[in-house]
Amino acid sequence: MTMLKELAAELISMFAAEKWLTIAVLAIVAAAGSVVDVAGLNPLVGGAVLLFGCLILLVESVCRSARKGAS
């Protein structure tokens, strides 16, 4: 039972080690999807939102952890 719990924790931590980063990535994907499907803009605009959103997010997440003393 303990091992199953550890397995579940490992699985969750694989994709959601930092809650803020996980939520922000999902928000960027949703925003890119909205640009393509809801706003009906050129799909490449959605692609730019996705790519540059993730790049900015990465830098911000690293700096945020450095400010907090990291986790």
């Binding site: 930092e18 393509v36 499907d37 490449l44 790519l51 997010l57 690293v62 450095a66 990291a70």
Partner: protein
Amino acid sequence: MAWSTAVPAVSAAFLASLVEVVEAFTIVLAVATLRGWRPAVLGTAAGLAVLAGIVLILGPVLDRVPITTLQLAIGILLLLFGMGWLRKASLRAAGVIPLHDEDAIFAAEAAELSEHAHRQRQNLQWVAGITTLKAVLLEGLEVVFIVIAVGAGRGLLVPASLGALAACAVVLVAGAIVHRPLSRVPENTLKFGVGVMLSSFGVFWTGEGLGIAWPGEDLALLLFAALFLGAGMIGSTLARRLAVEFA
């Protein structure tokens, strides 16, 4: 099969598996050194059997999922996984969090088993076997996910699996030669590189799943990799400065 997709997929599977197999191997070696090779090998075999079962169950299920849904789901998971690795690798490179130390892990695992030996004389072989099973299963799960993630989107499961198997072979041969934890593997550099690759695949698959036709098709992966590498390095430089500032 386009080489511009196959080479990054196989390289990502190989390098990521190399990191995970080294971690599992360290624990297997600690158990084998303290409790003998029998429980270590049995635990490893049991862990590999469970992993094989997971792959055998997941494989046919994946074939039934529409390709765009699969690309979107796997792309998002790759983004979460890859950016998580890249974030940690950037923080390690900046010295904000300590580097992964295989010698320390070996010592900690050995100490835990010795402590267990003092407390409980019976069932030690069982505990040793379970320890290796757990290590192989936990690290192997990440390998399985990476192989499925970089391979399933474009029918590259077999090449990606071969990349992972090659990593296992390299670690086993290196381990057999040096017969001690593989502490000289430049783990953070590998994790940095793998984080870059997985994040690039993540953006690529997620975009394709959303109906975005990337200019240059598969070659866009190279641009994404260059941008993620640059972002990781910028993040690391900024983090180093911030860590000093906030210390």
